[in-house]
C-alpha cells in the first residue's frame, strides 16, 4: 500500500486530501508514480503535468523524480511552498 497525500491547491483541484492505493505494477520511483496518477485523466492529467510546478515528498522528505517509492511509503504531492 501507498499512503498518498495532497495539499493546498492540489487537494482542492483533485477533490481529496488523502488516498490509499496498492503500489501500481512497474512503479519504482516518484516520476513513475506521478506518470501513473496522470493516466487517471482529467484533473489528474492536468494538475500533475510535467509542466506544472508540483513538489513531492516521500516519507516526509523532499523528493525528486528519481527518488525510490516502496510499498508502505507515504507520498505527498503539493504546490511550491509559501509559508513564512
Amino acid at each position: 500500500m501507498l499512503n498518498i497525500l495532497y495539499f493546498a491547491r492540489l487537494k482542492e483541484t483533485l477533490g481529496q486530501g488523502a488516498e490509499r492505493i496498492d503500489l501500481p505494477a512497474g512503479v519504482t520511483d516518484v516520476a513513475g508514480l506521478t506518470a501513473w496518477l496522470r493516466t487517471r485523466g482529467g484533473a489528474w492529467e492536468q494538475e500533475l503535468a510535467a509542466t506544472r510546478p508540483v513538489r513531492v515528498a516521500v516519507n516526509q522528505d523532499m523528493a525528486r523524480g528519481d527518488t525510490r517509492v516502496n510499498d508502505g511509503d507515504e507520498v505527498a504531492f503539493f504546490p511550491p511552498v509559501t509559508g513564512g
Binding site: F7, A8, Q60, A76, F78, P80, V81, T82, G83, G84
Partner: protein
Amino acid sequence: MNEPVHPAALAAGRTEIRVHEADFDVGREIAALRAGNAGIGAVASFIGVCRDLNDGDQVAELVLEHYPGMTEKALAKIADEARARWDLIDILIVHRVGRMLPTDQIVLVVVTSAHRGESFAACEFLMDYLKTQAPFWKKEQTPEGSRWVDARATDDAAAQRWN
C-alpha cells in the same frame, strides 16, 4: 570570531521548533531562550507578519495550511543545517497555522550566538530556507475571492544565495 566559543554556552544551547495555531509572545520567547545563559552576546530575530496588501490586492485574511509531521521534520533539518554552518547557541522557530488577520504574527525565528555575525546570518538563512523548504501554504481572502499564494521567484533566489 577568533575567540573560542564559550563551552558552557554551547552546552546550554537548544533547538526548539513549534507549529501551532496560537499566537506567540516575542518578548517571552526571547527571554525564555536566553534565560541564565551568560555566554550569549547576540540575539537575532525575525517576525513575519500578515500584511493587508499582497500583489496589489487587499487581503482580508490568510489561512495557513501545513503538512503535519513533515513540517516539524523539515524545520528540524533546516535548523541542523544552520548549526552545521555557524557556531550558534540557540535556535527557536515558531510557525503558526490556521486563520490569520492583517497585523497578526505568522512566524518567529530567533538565533543566539556569542558574536553577532553568526546569529544574523543564521536567522536570515533559516527564513530563506523555511520559505522554500518547509511545507506551509498560504491562502488569501481578497475582495475578488480566495486564492492560493504563488511561490515567489525572489524567495528561490534568496534561498539559492546560501548554496
